[in-house]
Amino acid sequence: MRIVIAEDSVLLRAGLIKLLETAGFEVPAATGDADGLLAAVEEHRPDAALVDVRMPPAFTDEGVRAALVIRRQWPEVALLLLSQYVEERYAADLLATNTSGVGYLLKDRVADVPTFLDALRRVAAGGTALDPEVVAQLLLRRQSDPLDRLTRREREVLGLMAEGRSNAGIAAALVVSESAVAKHINGIFSKLDLPDAEGDHRRVLAVLRFLGGGDA
């Protein structure tokens, strides 16, 4: 799998290249700014781009803006954003067009190598990976809508779904059985009024409702 990296810290960039190559990824390009990133994506058409949000020259949200450009021009390229802090509106910006192949993690998470690689693979495969902190912020915002009807457990499950985890992953995270997870998910579907018509898509719809406030 081919992945380009945009990260302005040289040390971290070198570390990420080593990490990815050790894990069997191919890194055709690694740059330190948004322009370099766009050029690299155009040239190499990677499977995924690993993007730092804060990059030169202004060190604000260059990474997010570059990611939105990539989303528009090369929608097949999966995106995993890394940030010093997580802001759910960055996530909302990214998820507004398309929820597949997008991830947004706190930078520290790269230290947890297996989890990080897992998230990267999930994103590259068209899944999502949201940082638990983003999810917590989203929960905070969505408290006054139909999601209020969810129980605490159901909301936890929905949060983990939004992070991009499978039923097995959710079961492991909450230390419950997989069938209990399935039961909670069904509860979520019925409370969010998502009838069983389109199979697995309900999962995405539930997450979208959770992220976007219901109009997805």
């Binding site: 040390l11 570390g15 080593k18 912020q137």
Partner: protein, 406 residues
């Protein structure tokens, strides 16, 4: 006690000590200057008696002009006199353009035309007291030259003279005091205006200091982020990589690697919290709403957050508001035993108000030196108001109002 100190002071004012002579010299030195303004005004009439309208007008107006021009030099002569003879430094009122119409100018004229002459008469009274006292006290010495006096009369005059001589120092002191006071009040800077100016000056300086502290906080945040934090992420990542990929490592060595990895991750988390407390980048980039939802999401309680800030406040005020919420939430989590928290941040006009309410046990007391003290101090540094209502048994509400215009 009062009488003793009065006596002591009286002893310091006997005619043969230095102070009365200095006072007398000072009072007397003012006389020519103090009559100056009136002398100019009256002068034309003493040497010339115009009868027709135009010359009368000239005789009236010309001296006024002269006085107007002389007023400031005369005033500085008085200030010099105070400095030279009493060591009393009276700074001139603040110089402003159009100095003839300032309020300070009217005070100068009041000195020259009203206070000055009165003081001059006082000074002459002092001289008369000295001279007359001396003349009367010594009347016995030249009684032969006078019309015949009885012995009783000579004694009475002498006694009166001595009394005058003893009174003269006090009179001199009184005149010196009044003169010095008049110079300070009328020829010095206006106290009220001076204070006003100082308050403005201090407010400006304080705002500068507060801003500087805030800028410093942001600089430290950026340095940590660009330096130490990145290194730590790289370190933790490398340790994580080692942990995942090294095979055939002795168990002990692997345990060390695992421990180092866990510690590096903890250090990262700590550094993130530290940076969050300093001045989070998200506050600068995206404002209070985003920054506050970040900390509110980390509170292990249900939080309701409402931020209604149509216009962003200055970064210093935002930093204080952020600090208030962050500190209040820390307190809630640590001490309040609350089941929920409500945070409200609104801006009405130029006032940013922040309230953090919990339904916990209450009894929070800023005087007990908790984080609340620092919170109050930080709020006051931008002229904000800080209120806490926290009866024993709860609930607790912290309310802060911050002016957005300093």
């Amino acid at each position: 006690m009062a009488s003793v100190s009065l006596l002591r002071r009286a002893r310091g004012y006997v005619p043969w000590s230095a102070a009365p002579w200095r006072d007398t010299a000072f009072a007397a030195s003012g006389v020519p200057l103090q009559f100056g303004a009136w002398a100019v005004l009256i002068a034309p009439w003493a040497i010339w008696e115009p009868v027709r309208a135009v010359p009368v007008l000239i005789a009236l107006l010309a001296p006024v002009l002269v006085v107007a021009v002389l007023a400031h030099p005369l005033a500085s002569a008085h200030r010099e006199r105070c400095w030279a003879m009493l060591g009393l430094h009276v700074p001139p009122p603040e110089e402003r353009p159009g100095r003839f119409r300032t309020e300070g100018y009217w005070r100068v004229l009041a000195y020259h035309l009203l206070a000055g002459p009165v003081l001059a008469f006082g000074a002459m009274a002092v001289i008369v007291a000295w001279a007359g006292g001396a003349a009367l006290a010594g009347v016995g010495a030249y009684a032969w030259a006078l019309p015949p006096l009885t012995a009783f009369q000579v004694a009475a005059f002498s006694m009166g003279g001595v009394a005058l001589l003893l009174a003269a120092p006090w009179l001199a002191m009184a005149v010196r005091n009044m003169d010095a006071r008049a110079v300070v009040v009328l020829l010095g800077p206006d106290r009220a205006r001076e204070l006003e100016r100082r308050v403005e000056d201090l407010a400006e300086k304080r705002a500068g200091v507060v801003d500087a502290a805030d800028i410093e906080r942001r600089r430290i945040e950026r340095d940590l982020h660009d330096g130490a934090q990145q290194r730590l992420v790289a370190l933790a990542m490398n340790l994580g990589l080692a942990r995942e990929t090294l095979t055939g490592v002795p168990d002990d060595a692997m345990r060390v690697i695992v421990e180092a990895h866990e510690e590096a991750k903890e250090a990262l988390a700590e550094m993130r919290d530290l940076i969050r407390g300093l001045h989070p980048a998200v506050l600068e980039d995206r404002g209070l709403d985003a920054a506050l939802s970040g900390i509110a999401a980390r509170v292990p309680l249900p939080v309701r957050l409402r931020v209604d800030v149509p216009r962003r406040a200055s970064s210093t005020v935002e930093a204080v508001a952020y600090f208030v919420v962050s500190e209040a939430l820390t307190n809630v989590v640590r001490h309040a035993r609350a089941s929920k928290v409500e945070i409200e941040v609104t801006r009405r006009g130029d006032v940013l108000s922040v309230s953090v309410a919990d339904d916990g046990a209450g009894g929070a007391d800023p005087s007990k030196g908790s984080g609340l003290t620092g919170l109050g101090r930080r709020v006051r540094s931008v002229d904000g108001t800080f209120r806490i209502v926290s009866p024993e048994g709860g609930p607790t509400t912290v309310t802060v109002e911050l002016p957005c215009v300093l």
